[in-house]
Symmetry: C2
Subunit: 594 residues, 2 copies
Amino acid sequence: MRSHYCGQLNETLVDQQVTLCGWVHRRRDHGGVIFLDLRDRDGLAQVVVDPDTAEAFATADRARNEFVLRITGRVRPRPEGTQNPNMPTGMIEVLAKDVEVLNTAATPPFQLDEHGKVGEETRLKYRYIDLRRPEMIDKLRLRSRISHSVRAFLEGQGFLDIETPILTRATPEGARDYLVPSRTHAGSFFALPQSPQLFKQLLMVSGVDRYYQIAKCFRDEDLRADRQPEFTQIDIEASFVEEDDVMAITETMIRQLFQEVLDVELPLFPRMPYAEAMSRFGSDKPDLRIPLELTDVDDLMKDVDFKVFSGPAQAEDGRVAALKVPGGAKLSRKEIDEYTKFVGIYGARGLAWIKVNERAKGIEGLQSPIVKFMDGIIEELLDRVEAQDGDIIFFGADNARIVNEAIGALRVKLGEDLELYTREWAPLWVVDFPMFEEDGNGRMQALHHPFTAPSCDVDTLRDRPAEALSKAYDMVLNGTELGGGSIRIHDHGMQRAVLDVLGIGEEEADEKFGFLLDALQYGAPPHGGLAFGLDRLVMLMTGAKTIREVIAFPKTQSAACLMTDAPGVVSPTQLKELNIRLRQKAKPEAEQDA
Amino acid sequence: MRSHYCGQLNETLVDQQVTLCGWVHRRRDHGGVIFLDLRDRDGLAQVVVDPDTAEAFATADRARNEFVLRITGRVRPRPEGTQNPNMPTGMIEVLAKDVEVLNTAATPPFQLDEHGKVGEETRLKYRYIDLRRPEMIDKLRLRSRISHSVRAFLEGQGFLDIETPILTRATPEGARDYLVPSRTHAGSFFALPQSPQLFKQLLMVSGVDRYYQIAKCFRDEDLRADRQPEFTQIDIEASFVEEDDVMAITETMIRQLFQEVLDVELPLFPRMPYAEAMSRFGSDKPDLRIPLELTDVDDLMKDVDFKVFSGPAQAEDGRVAALKVPGGAKLSRKEIDEYTKFVGIYGARGLAWIKVNERAKGIEGLQSPIVKFMDGIIEELLDRVEAQDGDIIFFGADNARIVNEAIGALRVKLGEDLELYTREWAPLWVVDFPMFEEDGNGRMQALHHPFTAPSCDVDTLRDRPAEALSKAYDMVLNGTELGGGSIRIHDHGMQRAVLDVLGIGEEEADEKFGFLLDALQYGAPPHGGLAFGLDRLVMLMTGAKTIREVIAFPKTQSAACLMTDAPGVVSPTQLKELNIRLRQKAKPEAEQDA
């Protein structure tokens, strides 16, 4: 139907006849002539319809915004003074010979140019119109290129693309499962997979050797954060590998991806142990673009006459950390109050600070509500954080978790507010994670998942689980976890030991994933892998602000699709076939997303 | 961990040191030496462990079938007389220096070589072992290559890979939906998509222009045939296209796929109208490898003194068709009885036949229970089917649907039984389908789906719906429908008209897919597409006998996974969160798949 996409037109086509198909993006009447900006996936082209071509003119005269047209005409240079160098096709225009209306369009619920004026709800309801915006189509296109680049790389490395089931059994990732009632097995339910974890391990037991899949995963969680009930994972697993093998291959993949799709040369990824990341940045996914670090000052604060500091400094699980911000002495009292509120979100009960106005003047040159308690240690403190005139030093003092979360978050916020970024892309590997973390009740939880291999032997694991490190690795970019993975346990005895530490007895384990435990007994090779969150990767690479921008048909925070009105009511017959009944009737739809 | 895959070893590596990882496929002790066939994804390599390397020998001596080993050694030519030219690595062997047990293996529930001795149930329960069989891994590998080839082609043609939702609203394909109770919208349900049909149309309305996806689809049907509750579709849609465009691009794709993956040069695909396919082959997916055709003989049979023939010949919806089988006169009475039973499956009440023993002898040369009724027309009949000595002619006489199904199926069965195939691959396009077919109750049903565009205008469609043809096309290969598609309706008025004919009123339509009807009003471009069944395509290309062979983790006919025991019982708390309760308790698992 067409000879060219609108965005493909350029000066080399001058005097040639072209046929374009697309949407009326804008229409202007000027000096008795109709100007149409015709839009398709590739861009805009200016079409001129002259009254001399009476039939075309009459048709164009009927055309309104978002009409679908087919236009044949001749490419010509735009007249002197009307060129638009900001537009890829801005040096030329098409003088129309034929104009055909392929479809009309009712006045859309919002004009593309004015999408900002309507709420996100309207845009989600009319998603098919919102996606017409060039920046939205461009994100979908980039996502497609990203998937393709990843696939091409992995295929080239001998990974087989293998599909794993969507209708499956509850998986042990720990989030809530979406369930699907079985009609043929009354009273039983499938679960939608939280990840293909167990299946990919079984594929390794099968000898597949190298597996990948761009896989849909599902978690029925409350979507406070920027999450979606269904999300996409680049899922990778290989046999006869160690940490370095998986990290090398996936780092190469991501660096090549950035090269191919964004023309960005990422640096080699540094590696940082979990303990160091927590100590220096208060986070296991530090944003290394920000040149601020936490400094431990517990030893200095143990004996100060200020309980807020000395208490945590002496406590076993306490931490007192300083965060020096160069140039921060210029922060106003009001700004400091805002930051105090901010760290409160993470449980911090206050935010102590010292402004370094003139260090040469000693204590006189400092400004701070707490400096009076620092007698005798102040010089050592200033030396340790390398304080200079104009700096501010913030302090966190509490149990280590709160300090890390609060001051870690403050670090990122200050980095953003004060525009301290030193570079555009800052990737790293975080390694040497603990195997377990204690939950509030003194029970051990897997920091990754129960199939992650420890770096120690079975005896050490059983005797001193809190000290055990795992063979896990997270890839972090700009403070976002792009992906995580590990070497898995391939030894049946070790798997039982880890489950024991987690308080998962044999019976429960056999019930939940006995098939995996069985499989480990029939010749499981050493294996490991990694999974990337594709949505988040695309979000970072496109600079999107929410994950919803990089998903064609996303759901709201209450897990609804405003366009299709899903979820919806179903008939009593359907429920009966599925052997279920409702506890309470569905609310009328209008109330659901209020 | 390894230097080579087992299957990669060859004579160019002689005298080099290699490290292999894999499974003990077979072990033989011969003349004090241990021979291990080590297996990995790529093949087998023979490893020789000599008592001279004491440590390696002791380790190898412990190794049993399916142990996972890492072996380092030197490649050497096999001694004269022990080469195995049937094995890719049969000219060499590895003399082991080091043997390391990476994992032990319990005696597997079946030996790979003896998989035929256990039932499919056992193999499905231990799928991870069954997949170790080289022919199984090869199928997965071919499937991966097929997906990759298809993707590469479509990317090259400017199609964007876009993911559509799995948690969505019931779609109007007509099969039963899998439902997912919503926790956040109590009493409401998501449906798993039967296809991405509506979403891909909406993407066209969005201006995506060219979309594809290798998409999971779900149908909660009784799995009599070789089907799976979840299956995979190569889903394609494009804007500003007509039938020829979609057919050209997808035909090129399939031909290129066969070239790349199987090194098979498919012929150009002939096109055949639906009416012709039904008339000549009794099927809308004729297997053109079989050189048998149905011949209409209604006109000859109208006045014969044999009600079984004259009745259908005179009835408006009747059909009398002859199927001539060259060389079929040699069929025994017992064989003919079997075929009579066979056509009975399709509702045929009998199977009349004429053996042509010696045509020159006239009626004397024929053998048949019905020839006595054919007085006066027998010569014309024999001429029409071009009968020769040694042929048999079968007859179907009933309403056209039964004749087509019964004699169409008989044609295929005879083709198989008598090995009449004339070539390996016989693709074609079937086109010019009717828009509608009448169901038993005089109501119109969509032959494809309600979004298929008719070739006629609105008035003709409303006035004479039974005559309306559609812009649909099916790709058929060897009697299997590989894929089907159509140009879709992009005009709101036409869509309403089609729904009217189908008896779907405005209210029902708005309730079910109002968002699509809305979208058609906001500037929908002409568009169309096609969807291929990937599982079936892979099955044909790998020569697999069931669809379960080309799916990594398939389900049984009762929609259960024997490996993970899915579906399973869930806790009362989970049900409560989902606002549902059971009508009856789940049966104990043992009973479920009995």
